[in-house]
């Protein structure tokens, strides 16, 4: 904790003066550079392209179209203004009934109709940010511990810990098994925490994962549910990316597992879901966070706490209408997956041409890139940061280094692909490819890459990689300094 700062003598709280909000970290150098020199097609074509922002901009025009076609959903239009008074005064923390029903309905649809949600258990919050903090306030006291699989969303350090006093202990996942979370790893972390006399209250994880873009398989999720029940600890699953699954298996929500394990194996009072419309629908500005708990006491308490972050009634009304429009929802969810899939393929195949592979993923708004071969020293996070600064300053892309997600292995980077248009994505890929080829003077004939026999391809990759590392080493030795300019905006919101 930071020292207690004085204010003309009157001391501020520790919370106000420590840096547990996490924003003083050097990881925000990338943001600062971006803010100073943001890419724009015409105005600043050489600027930095923002790939550190997990936003979904691919389907906004569908939503905009719906709003135009449904003026009654707004309290401001001539068609809808008749509701203005009632909506303007509505501050009941239960939320509009139609809103809760629509959200429950949408959540079911986003999970392929394989599970239904009870509107009476829907509790509002100020985005998933507010939801995660609130659930901590309900489940844990200061000093209690929650386990979180790493790598994990950087802002959890703030959301789960800052004002709640709760401690986070990571459950490390490794590239050797594709960063899959295992129950054994959770058990081990739990045991270690207990040995240090720490009181573990639960496990919290994001599924699909940020930053990995992968999903838990049904069996692992079932075993986690059984584990927490045996240990009598909570399981919070942040399913904020549930609707961004674009390929492969269906997403398995913990709600589905709750319905499918034997009742003696699951204590539903321990199971809680966090949700939001910020990623699936791309509406972070509307601040729609949801807590869904199977525990009545938690629903009741979280609901009272939601007074600290209710969803604007204007927004509730609009979304109640939009999300109960089944036709729109079906089109949206299908189109959203389709566009994400195309974008994902576009990006990963472009990276491949530059000799860069990613963790195989089928969800999320980002990829988990393997740049270990480019590190000066594969075991050093300093190398990772050096490489990162090169990417920002030379390649002019803002990507997020794995250490900011508490990854235990250097060399992994998260790159977002859904927060820009196609042209910008292609510009980013061109820069990566140009940089890679310039730096080892090999011109890759992209049409050949599909036809080359696999073993040859692998040999070429390896040679390319070793040459890249050499060229990067030169860059390292040239000495790059970080920009270090203060950004007025908070990047934490956007990760």
């Amino acid at each position: 904790m930071g020292s207690l700062k004085k204010n003309g003598g009157a001391i501020l709280s520790r919370i106000a003066t420590n840096d547990h909000h996490g924003e003083n970290s050097e990881y925000f150098d990338g943001w600062k550079s971006y803010d100073k020199d943001p890419f724009h097609h015409s105005r600043n074509p050489c600027g930095i392209i923002q790939m550190g922002l997990a936003e979904n901009q691919l389907c906004l025009e569908l939503i905009e179209g719906w709003i135009k076609d449904n003026p009654k959903a707004s309290i401001c239009t001539p068609e809808g203004v008749g509701q203005f008074g009632d909506i303007a005064i509505f501050q009941d923390y239960h939320g509009l009934k139609e809103f809760r029903q629509a959200i429950a309905h949408f959540m079911g649809k986003a999970r392929g109709g394989r599970v239904t949600f009870d509107p009476e258990r829907i509790v509002m919050s100020g985005g998933a940010t507010g939801a995660n903090e609130t659930i901590m306030f309900c489940l844990a006291d200061p000093g209690d511990v929650f386990l979180v699989p790493s790598p994990y969303y950087a802002a959890f350090d703030r959301d789960l810990r800052w004002r709640t006093g709760v401690e986070i202990i990571p459950v490390h996942c490794y590239s050797s098994n594709s960063f899959k979370l295992t129950v054994e790893a959770v058990e081990w972390a739990y045991k270690k925490a207990q040995e240090s006399n720490k009181k573990v209250k639960g496990l919290i994880l994001t599924n699909p994962s940020n930053p990995l873009g992968t999903m838990l398989d049904k069996d692992t999720l079932k075993n986690l549910v059984r584990f927490v029940t045996r240990k009598n600890i909570h399981l919070v699953v942040d399913e904020i990316y549930a609707g961004t699954v674009f390929a492969g298996e269906n997403f398995v929500s913990v709600a589905e597992v709750v319905n499918n394990v034997d009742s003696y194996e699951v204590n539903v009072d321990l199971i809680h879901i966090v949700y939001s419309l910020s990623k699936d629908m791309g509406l972070p500005g509307f601040r729609v966070g949801i807590i869904y708990s199977y525990n009545d006491l938690v629903v009741s308490c979280a609901r009272k706490m939601s007074s600290f972050g209710l969803v604007s009634s204007q927004t509730q009304l609009m979304l109640a209408s939009m999300l109960s429009d089944d036709r729109f929802v079906e089109i949206f969810l299908t189109e959203n997956s389709r566009r994400l899939k195309i974008r994902h393929e576009d990006y990963t195949s472009g990276l491949k041409k530059a000799g860069i592979t990613c963790l195989t993923s089928n969800a999320g708004l980002f990829v988990w890139m393997d740049l270990r071969h480019l590190l000066r020293d594969r075991n050093s996070f300093e190398s990772e940061i050096e490489l990162w600064h090169i990417i920002i300053d030379k390649v002019k892309l803002n990507v997020s280094p794995g250490s900011s997600f508490h990854c235990t292995e250097p060399g992994w980077f998260r790159a977002c692909f859904a927060n820009m248009d196609d042209d910008t994505l292609h510009a980013a890929l061109r820069r990566i490819q140009a940089f890679v080829s310039k730096n080892h003077k090999i011109v890759e004939n992209s049409s050949d890459s599909d036809q080359i026999v696999q073993s040859n391809n692998v040999k070429k990759q390896k040679w390319k990689q070793s040459n890249l590392r050499l060229s990067f080493r030169r860059l390292y030795e040239d000495g790059l300094s970080s920009p270090g300019i203060m950004s007025p905006r908070s990047p934490l919101l956007r990760t």
């Binding site: 501020l12 909000h21 401001c76 303007a88 844990a140 004002r163 007074s307 604007s312 919101l493």
Partner: protein
Amino acid sequence: MFLLASPTTSHSIPTKTLIQDLSLSFSLSPHYSSLRPKSLDFKKKMKQLSTKVTSNGHGQDSSYFLGWEEYEKNPYDEIKNPNGMIQMGLAENQLCFDLIESWLAKNPDAASLKRNGQSIFRELALFQDYHGMPEFKKAMAEFMEEIRGNRVTFDPKKIVLAAGSTSANETLMFCLAEPGDAFLLPTPYYPGFDRDLKWRTGAEIVPIHCSSSNGFQITESALQQAYQQAQKLDLKVKGVLVTNPSNPLGTALTRRELNLLVDFITSKNIHLISDEIYSGTMFGFEQFISVMDVLKDKKLENTDVSKRVHVVYSLSKDLGLPGFRVGAIYSNDEMIVSAATKMSSFGLVSSQTQYLLSALLSDKKFTSQYLEENQKRLKSRQKRLVSGLESAGITCLRSNAGLFCWVDMRHLLDTNTFEAELDLWKKIVYNVKLNISPGSSCHCTEPGWFRVCFANMSEDTLDLALKRLKTFVESTDCGRMISRSSHERLKSLRKKTVSNWVFRVSWSDRVPDER
């Protein structure tokens, strides 16, 4: 670390007994299962959760909220339920929606998320910058200035947006107090403060006792006593929090009181939070004096003291938009602005709401017309309530702001006790079918005072409520006596009120007998 039993109640009935008594009269809802004998299973369930779940820190067992629950079961409707309960416990401003609605009709761009004819939907959908929209904060700053007669300026960069003043007040507590630290609050105070200031922060409230003998004004001795009481309880005092104009009193702080407060926090080196959520509801002939006015007049701007004075604001009362969740913290301390801004992540204002309101509040023609009309309508409504009460032999604290009156029903109590107040309250809720808020829920130290709201209903509904109340009063023994002597009493009261008015106009620094 967290004190479950509040040290703040100083009146005769400890809160728990009050709740148990209430539980005998009302059917228990699931919320109050804590009152039943706890089963082993239930206790085990509670242990799994945090102490915040298991404590009563949310304050919802208070009669303030219980009355609302009863209203929900049987709400009045002119046509569908004319014998239902009339809600007079809700401090809402429903008097001026027509003005906003007609503005919307004349401003289609704002209504359809356009700027200069271009759609900005995308921009709004993605906007989550916790600094807030610059044009919105500018509009808020200017609106706050306008309410204060443009005598003081507000710098938009010092505004931090929050999800209502509920969130703003809690956030300030997180910034200023450690768990176990105390803030001094004049009684009676808004019941929601028990939750907003204490529940998740672990802070404590120590009351500054105000009494009817001087119109519930804050005195130097009351301040000192509260401070000493905190020290006796081994609580570190971090500041004073006032609501100005006051809820539930409906009165604006006098310049004398404000000076007293500023001097007090200067000498004790502590903070002052002034929740000015009702600043735009001032309808009396006096001007609203903000703590910012006082800092300016005392030439304390840009001093260390000014860094310890913080204003909380919201659009829930002045504009009648509680559903939109628009609150703000204003502070001269950069560190507080910085920390609070980061904390606002937990409760940002919806971007579509920011956009709509920045357009509304930037229209200066609208805001000046609105403020004037709002005040006119509030004044007329208050007068209606006051005269209606008078005809039932009931007086109020003379008010000049707010959406409610602080009503004196001491003469209707069987005994001068809080038990009697509760009995009276139950009768009014169940027999008269009016939900009003008993003074004990506001931590008043004297039984018999009730807060009655007047701006959340139509005129007809208000008249009906007054009729019911008059009938009730006249039907009681007390009432019969009162209606005989009320004429005499009111005559002398009016004399007193007029002389006080004359008194105040000529001696603005002195303390009048009544407000």
